[in-house]
């Protein structure tokens, strides 16, 4: 288990480094530099003093060779310093730290809702026995997946805020302003979780061990919750790791629609301004999030399915006092012999 974790952490660090480097390369291949664009945006492009522009470039390090800039940026990043945002001049870490709680609240609420409602839908759809209800419930997830997030957001905004006035349309104030954005973000994710989990539950119900459980006289409810659900949740768990990335991407759209401050808005603005230091910071942030969530998923895997450690870490999962059996192998003479 320790080796398994060590390997996963090592891989995670590599992923973060790779994301940092890839982002750096792509940003430098793009034409134009942030200083120029900032001046352009201020309208002071024409009358700017070339000496002052050069000084500004030097301040951000844009005058040095690309490898030198990369080395410098990486060194600073390792110390948690991503430099200053070009257009605003404030430290990147401050900007991110200010925006993070808003986005964190949004994604955590949205994700929890997606998991609870998506999971409940899948469990219900595979539990009901009447074919018509089953069909109806099973057709909901594909519907949810196919609704575009921005369209749903605009619809909710129209209906619940503008027409009915039940919930605030924009802003970051209070819990009530969180509801509409969270719902918008949760629907596609929840639908996806429901779809995968329902499929997986259906497949699990076909397994011989479910027949055995039924032959033991276990009720359908007992089988659904005590046998099928845990067995079926692995694919959904895998999906969860991937969903985090989508949540961050979704936050860009949702925060724009509902005019919320947050990481998504910050990213959108940084892209428009080609704010290289800020973008680097955001890329590393999402890479770290991604790595952490997937690390968590990797740790949860063996808890859900005891066979997992064995597969990924060799014989590591088998208690030391046990011989390792191959699938369906003969009973070893020792075990049988000691009995008879």
């Amino acid at each position: 288990m320790r080796r398994y974790l060590a390997r996963r952490v090592g891989q995670g660090i590599f992923v973060i480094w790779a994301a940092f480097t890839a982002a750096f390369i792509i940003l430098y291949l793009l034409p134009g530099d942030p200083v120029e664009m900032t001046l352009e945006a201020n309208g002071s492009h024409m009358d700017a003093d070339p000496a002052a522009v050069a000084a500004l470039r030097a301040e951000y390090g844009f005058d040095r060779s690309v490898p030198a800039q990369y080395g410098h940026a990486l060194w600073r990043a390792l110390h948690g310093d991503f430099g200053r945002s070009v257009p605003t001049g404030s430290p990147v870490t401050h900007l991110i730290a200010d925006a993070l709680p808003q986005t964190l609240a949004l994604t955590v609420v949205a994700f929890t809702a997606a998991l609870v409602f998506g999971g409940a839908l899948a469990v219900a759809a595979t539990y009901v026995q009447r074919p018509a209800w089953r069909q109806m419930l099973l057709s909901l997830p594909p519907l949810g997946v196919s609704i575009p997030g921005f369209w749903l957001g605009l619809l909710l905004l129209q209906l619940l805020s503008f027409r009915l006035g039940w919930l605030p349309a924009t802003g970051n104030e209070g819990v009530r302003s969180l509801i509409l954005p969270a719902v918008t973000l949760a629907v596609p994710t929840g639908a996806k979780i429901a779809q995968i989990l329902a499929k997986s539950l259906q497949a699990t119900w076909q397994q011989p061990f479910i027949d055995v459980a039924r032959a033991k006289g276990m009720s359908r409810r007992h089988i659904q919750f005590r046998h099928a659900l845990r067995h079926a949740s692995l694919p959904a768990l895998t999906l969860t790791g991937v969903t985090v990335g989508e949540m961050l991407a979704g936050a860009v759209i949702v925060e724009t629609i509902f005019s919320r401050t947050g990481i998504g808005r910050l990213a959108q603005e940084a892209v428009l301004a080609k704010d290289i230091p800020l973008l680097e910071g955001l890329v590393v942030l999402s890479a770290v999030t991604f790595v952490l969530v997937n690390l968590a998923v990797d740790v949860i895997y063996p808890l859900v399915d005891p066979r997992i450690t064995r597969i990924s870490a060799g014989a590591g999962g088998v208690p030391p006092d046990l011989p390792v059996f191959s699938q369906g192998s003969a009973e070893p003479a020792v075990l049988e012999g000691s009995r008879e």
């Binding site: 033991k216 006289g217 005590r226 003969a330 009973e331």
Partner: protein, 587 residues
């Protein structure tokens, strides 16, 4: 090991009143499946199972035996329904009983031992929990007392160190241990009837025998009635009091074991008994040498057995063997939990030779290394040490083009014709694939070759455009054999080629293999766990255990005078021993 005594709930109460009447009475049962068309799986079956009686339902696939078992416990798959008839358990009709009422019968009144222990336990639940939930679910224990009782049940089922087993997950147990768990589970509530659906067909013979012995002991102690479902006549004759032979959903013959096996009335039972390979059968001889008329499958097989005294083909002396293996070793490295690696020796110093035009068989239990040895000969694996000589050339280190040329001369037929053929491919496409891969001939030539091959494996020409999914198991295996023959190989490796087939089909395929060997001078490397099958097809036999060849020699020597203790144990474990008396049987 002591048998823990527990309070038996309904058993003692019911025993007084129902002792004389049958525990299970199936009356005029009709079951059908509705998919695209209605299939009548069971058509008017009636039988009784008395208290403490063991009744075996015997039949080939499609006979309806499993459908009957599933009807009795109310677990018909979707689409299946009881058309007519009654299933009386302790006087109560189970047909049409509500789910709620069935819950009170399943597990408590009727226990169920499933077919494949590998997939019948929940892989993500500890073994102990899976047993205690039965007790808790039926109110025989509470959450506090159940775990200890589960340990008792595991002990009773014959598992060593039951406390440890209860804490383990199914994947940490061997196949035999898992089946013991399932048996313990089925008997946990001391039901009056246990349905055992092919309970040991997935296990090795020696394990099978030990598990069945123990099962018999337990059910006998409690006077539990057993409905035993099996395709294996030998097991039925060993384990049952009465036998019911089924075919196409009808009872063909029923009676006491002695009567049915010694004086079978129905021609079907007689042919089943005749076709089932046994340890006393002889090596098959070719039946269609010279003018070959591909008759309908089955005829040839039946004709084959009537000429047992033709001597086996003897190679001209002095001819070098086609394949020689010298001291083969294959190690697999497994990542270990501590430092270093865990080395598993799958093949450990194996030497053998396959003579031209003859059959060399590896026989052994799972994990004995027989398949790995075959993969080494195929050069799908590279040996860790040792040499393989094929047709006088050392092929041990061949790579790339050389290996590809070797593939042309060595072909394989796998165990399961349901997974070794793409169900969406037409028969023509499957058989022509090796021809295309090696660019053998033009399109017309390939088509002619496919037709010729179909003829050789005695498939009607009309099957050429059918999809593999539309064929029966035996037909599929014929297609697989045709594919192996396409490039006119010298050696065919047959990896358990008949173990997935019914006995009657098995006999036909074996006969086909013997005929083809004769016509095309093929050499076979045959792999099987089944001594009886090996006996029918081999010239030479090698017995494998844990990667070592414990004994090898001419077939008759091995069967008549086994020298190694393990060979003797294997031969003794083969089902059918109860009726295998006198008349040239080993041991």
């Amino acid at each position: 090991m002591g048998v823990p005594e527990r309070a038996t709930p309904s058993r003692s109460a019911a025993a007084g009143t129902a002792e004389s009447s049958p525990v299970l009475a199936v009356q005029d049962l009709h079951v059908s499946y509705r998919s695209s068309e209605v299939v009548d799986a069971v058509r008017g079956v009636s039988f009784d199972v008395g208290p403490g009686e063991v009744v075996a339902l015997v039949g080939e696939s499609g006979s309806g035996k499993s459908t009957i078992a599933h009807t009795v416990i109310g677990l018909l798959p979707p689409g299946g329904s009881v058309r007519r008839g009654r299933v009386l358990f302790a006087g109560q009709d189970l047909v049409g009983l509500s789910d709620r009422k069935l819950l009170a019968v399943r597990g408590v009144g009727i226990g169920f031992v499933p077919q494949d222990p590998g997939v019948s336990l929940n892989p993500v639940k500890r073994v102990g929990r899976q047993i205690s939930e039965v007790l808790v679910g039926h109110g025989l224990a509470d959450r506090r007392s159940a775990p200890a009782l589960a340990v008792d049940i595991l002990a009773r089922a014959g598992l060593s160190d039951p406390r440890l087993r209860a804490r383990q997950y199914p994947h940490q147990l061997s196949g035999g241990m898992r089946q013991r768990v399932l048996i313990g589970m089925a008997l946990a509530c001391r039901p009056r009837l246990v349905i055992a659906d092919e309970p040991t067909s997935a296990l090795d013979v020696t394990v099978q025998r030990r598990v069945l012995d123990h099962f018999q002991e337990l059910t006998h102690q409690d006077r539990t009635s057993v409905l035993f479902i099996t395709h294996d006549l030998a097991i039925a004759s060993d384990r049952a009091d009465r036998v019911i032979v089924l075919r196409h959903g009808r009872v063909v013959e029923a009676g006491a074991v002695g009567t049915v096996f010694d004086r079978p009335q129905s021609p079907y039972t007689r042919s089943l008994l005749a076709l089932a390979p046994s340890l006393t059968s002889e090596r098959l001889v070719p039946t269609r040498s010279g003018a070959r008329v591909p008759g309908p499958p089955g005829d040839a097989a039946q004709a084959a057995r009537t000429q047992p005294n033709t001597p086996p083909p003897v190679p001209p002396p002095g001819t070098a063997p086609l394949v020689e293996a010298h001291d083969l070793v294959k190690n697999f490295d497994q990542p270990a939990r501590s430092r270093g690696t865990n080395r598993i020796t799958a093949v450990d110093g194996v030497s053998f030779a396959v003579p031209r035009g003859q059959t060399y068989s590896f026989v052994g239990e799972s994990g004995s290394g027989k398949s790995t040895t075959a993969r080494l000969v195929l050069r799908l694996e590279t040996p860790t040490s040792g040499r393989i000589v094929f047709d006088g050339k050392d092929i041990t280190d061949w790579k790339g083009d050389q290996l590809r040329r070797l593939r042309r001369r060595v072909q394989v037929v796998y165990q399961n014709p349901y997974s070794s053929l793409d169900p969406r491919f037409s028969v023509e496409r499957i058989i022509a694939q090796p021809l295309r891969a090696f660019k053998a001939g033009d399109q017309a030539g390939q088509r002619a070759r496919v037709a010729e091959l179909l003829d050789q494996v005695a498939l009607p020409a009309g099957t050429i455009h059918r999809k593999a999914a539309e064929l029966s198991g035996g037909q599929r295996q014929r297609v697989a054999i045709a594919r192996a023959l396409a490039l006119k190989p010298d050696l065919i490796i047959l990896d358990e080629p008949v173990s997935a087939l019914d006995v009657s089909v098995q006999a036909q395929i074996l006969q086909l293999l013997v005929d083809l060997q004769d016509e095309l001078t093929l050499s076979y490397l045959f792999i099987s766990h089944d001594f009886a099958v090996v006996r029918q097809i081999s010239d030479l036999v090698g017995v494998m255990r844990s990667g070592r060849l414990v004994e090898q020699g001419p077939t008759d020597d091995i069967f008549r005078n086994p020298r190694d203790a393990y060979t003797k144990e294997l031969l003794a474990a083969i089902p059918g021993g109860a009726r295998r008396s006198g008349a040239g049987s080993p041991g």
